[in-house]
Symmetry: C2
Subunit: 146 residues, 2 copies
């Protein structure tokens, strides 16, 4: 996602520090014609299953394919494979194959994956804390827009 140059107009009352950082962030993006790094991350776990895979691996350490599949309610074999491959490709999880019969494959978060996990955890805190307020806002909105 490439950002256009834009006029900066500070009209709201949010923290000036974050404002300044955002400002720099947008400047940088538009100068270098780079893709938004946040979107890159969100694309990683914005899909239906990546987040759940990371959380489960964070919870349980080394985990086998079918165990993961059992834990993630509703995931199909295909989608779990696709998800895990994608995470592996980005270096967020490792995949270890054991030359046994029947075969055994263990997945585990890498150091990079664990650092993402802790970020996600922070977000989860926000989510838990804000959930009621969001539900309330949603209900109110639906009442006012019949």
């Amino acid at each position: 996602m490439v950002y256009k140059n834009m006029e900066i107009e500070q009209t709201n009352n949010q923290s000036p520090e974050l404002q300044q950082k955002l400002n720099a962030f947008f400047q940088e993006g538009s100068e270098h014609h780079e893709f938004c790094p946040i979107r890159d991350v969100v694309d990683r776990f914005g899909d239906k299953w990546s987040l759940l895979a990371i959380l489960n691996l964070g919870n349980s350490g080394k985990t086998r394919f079918n165990e993961l599949k059992n834990r993630i309610e509703g995931v199909s074999q295909r989608m779990l494979t696709v998800t895990l491959r994608s995470l592996e490709r980005d270096g967020l999880i490792s995949r270890k194959i054991f030359a046994e019969v029947p075969p055994r494959v263990e997945y585990e978060l890498t150091a990079l994956g664990e650092s993402l996990l802790s970020q996600i955890w922070e977000l989860a805190q926000w989510a838990s804390g804000s959930k009621e307020e969001i539900v309330r806002a949603r209900t109110e909105y639906d009442n006012q827009h019949p």
Copy 2:
């Protein structure tokens, strides 16, 4: 997303504190048969445009529809409307209509929206810091899997 009950097996070497928190988190989810709060949040901005809308509003404060549309490269009128409505419904942004001709509508982050913004910002920091490592991992993976 409802979590199944699961055996807890700690085999990895990550921070015991986070491990414990995750543990409690999964327990809670499975007991109450609730939907995962994190997924709720990610569903908010996991789509193609919500994140960019929040970031732009965070950067510029009160913003009009078309200004937002110009800043978010590539968004269609339809999708911007849909995105903004969804964010408004969840109480993340406010929408103020001015009874003028031609009409003017200003969008702005609410306090809740700003609190999400700062979470997203933290995530962005992680993304910026980890981007090179991810790209490297991706390249390596692609080389090894032709």
